[in-house]
């Protein structure tokens, strides 16, 4: 199995736009400072699972940078760094296990938790986070983690259907399985 990169990039661009324009309206006001879905990160996990770690690294780097740049407030680089690193790590983990729905969801959930924690510490390093670590974990990281796992579940079928191509096993060299 391998992933169609051109389609994936186009789909992820669309998802980034949706995430910043439509998703804020779907989240109820009481939860709007708790749920921060990152659809580009879920797609990075999918790239890592189906396309290998090196592609995931560059994919995460690029889309992280895009996200940082579009909403450049205090600084650029936190999501870019986190998504590149976690894309690579996800690919590394998936090299040793078989592709399954459960693995993808667990990885999207845990990866999102690690990503948000990492971004928190980067902002805290520059003393810009403004909230305590316990508050951030309880109110932002954990709810977002659950939402991300759920969104990964929702995206699984479309990704399998449209973005993944099954190859004869001889041609699949960098893909898992």
């Amino acid at each position: 199995m391998t992933i169609r990169m051109n389609r994936t990039i186009a789909a992820t661009l669309l998802l980034v736009v949706l995430e910043t324009c439509v998703v804020p309206w779907l989240i109820p006001p009481a939860w709007s400072d708790r749920l921060f879905p990152h659809l580009a990160f879920i797609m990075t996990v999918y790239v890592a699972v189906f396309g290998g770690r090196h592609r995931a690294f560059f994919f995460g780097l690029g889309f992280g940078l895009l996200q940082d740049e579009l909403f450049y407030g205090h600084m650029i680089g936190a999501y870019s760094f986190g998504m590149a690193l976690l894309g690579y790590l996800c690919g590394l983990v998936m090299k040793r296990s078989r592709v399954s729905l459960a693995a993808v969801i667990v990885m999207a959930g845990i990866g999102s938790g690690v990503l948000d924690t990492m971004v928190y510490w980067i902002y805290e390093l520059f003393s810009l986070a403004g909230v305590s670590f316990g508050y951030a974990v309880y109110n932002q990281v954990l709810p977002t983690l659950l939402l991300q796992a759920f969104l990964a579940l929702l995206l699984y079928l479309p990704v399998r259907r449209w973005l993944v191509r099954t190859l004869p096993s001889s041609a699949a060299d960098d893909g898992p399985a």
């Binding site: 736009v17 949706l18 995430e19 910043t20 324009c21 439509v22 998703v23 804020p24 309206w25 779907l26 006001p29 709007s32 400072d33 921060f36 879905p37 990152h38 895009l66 996200q67 940082d68 740049e69 579009l70 909403f71 450049y72 407030g73 205090h74 600084m75 650029i76 680089g77 936190a78 999501y79 870019s80 760094f81 590149a84 690193l85 948000d116 971004v119 928190y120 980067i122 902002y123 520059f126 003393s127 810009l128 986070a129 403004g130 909230v131 305590s132 508050y135 951030a136 932002q140």
Partner: protein, 287 residues
């Protein structure tokens, strides 16, 4: 295998160093390079096409759920309009009187135009999904005369300040990002509605955990009281005069016991913005 692991670690270290350098460099930078401006404008166009229908649909459903309040709200508004008509007459008289006095006292053109603000209407294009960098994008840019550090408000109150400008879009930094540690944030000089002469303080921090603003450096003899409406004072150049910020929730003695601090509930709702106003101050003595 050992070599490979070392290579990975090496690349990771290089990456960490590069990114810390990048973050340090981009922190507190005000301008944008042309690729950044191009990216912002290109995405801004697409985001606008999605954001506006989404906000319209969401607004419709919110209106439906508020349908029961409409009757009471209408009563309330009718009273306000009656009050407004009276105030309008008084305002016109006083404004004319004020103009005449300025004329007699030989005010310069700059002084006369000082509080003659223009309000530019802007649509919101997108919200950031970064919890520590919550910026808003609007569909006015340098083409429309937007400059960095212009104040942005809704009908309810102050939202923030324009932080970065591209040709067709700009980024707004909301006052929820106020933090004494951030180098790029502009503190708000504030006073109290109805006590403009006597009351003064600086709003320099937003408490993200409790969703309130902190106003500090208030003198001990200040008449500020719980429930007062806090507005911008216009004494520091960035924020124009008289924009509502919020209501005083609590008042307490500050860190060293010499000044007071107040906790303020912001008036504007930062979550679901769809339309904002950019306040343009008259630029009489500018180039």
């Amino acid at each position: 295998m050992k070599l490979l692991r070392n290579k990975r670690l090496f690349i990771l270290m290089i990456g960490v160093i590069l990114f810390i350098a990048l973050m340090g460099f981009t922190r507190g930078r005000t301008g944008l390079t042309w690729p950044e401006r191009f990216l912002n404008d290109a995405f801004g166009t697409i985001q606008g096409a999605f954001y506006r229908p989404a906000s319209a649909v969401a607004g419709f459903f919110r209106d439906l759920s508020r349908l029961s309040d409409v009757y009471r709200e209408n009563e309330e508004l009718r009273k306000t309009v009656a009050q407004y008509a009276q105030d309008r007459i008084r305002y016109n008289t006083i404004a004319r009187e004020n103009e005449r006095l300025q004329e007699e006292l030989n005010f310069t053109e700059r002084q006369k135009q000082l509080y003659n603000y223009r309000y530019l209407f802007a649509h919101v294009l997108a919200n950031s999904s970064n919890p520590y960098d919550r910026t808003i994008k609007i569909d006015l840019g340098s083409r429309d005369g937007i400059k960095p550090k212009m104040a942005v408000q809704t009908v309810d109150g102050l939202v923030g300040v324009v932080s970065r400008v591209s040709e067709f879009t700009s980024t707004v930094q909301p006052i929820t990002e106020l933090d004494p540690n951030a180098p790029d944030v502009v503190e708000v000089a504030a006073t109290v509605l109805g006590k403009e002469g006597e009351s003064f303080g600086i709003i320099d921090q937003y408490d993200s955990e409790n969703h309130v603003l902190q106003m500090s450096k208030i003198s001990q003899t200040d008449p500020i009281a719980v429930g007062d409406t806090v507005i911008t004072s216009g004494l520091v150049n960035v924020y124009p005069k008289g924009i509502v910020i919020g209501k005083v929730l609590r008042k307490q003695v500050g860190d060293f016991g010499l000044t007071l601090t107040a906790t303020i509930q912001p008036a504007a709702d930062f979550d679901h913005l769809s339309e904002v106003f950019v306040v343009v101050t008259p630029d009489v003595d500018g180039p």
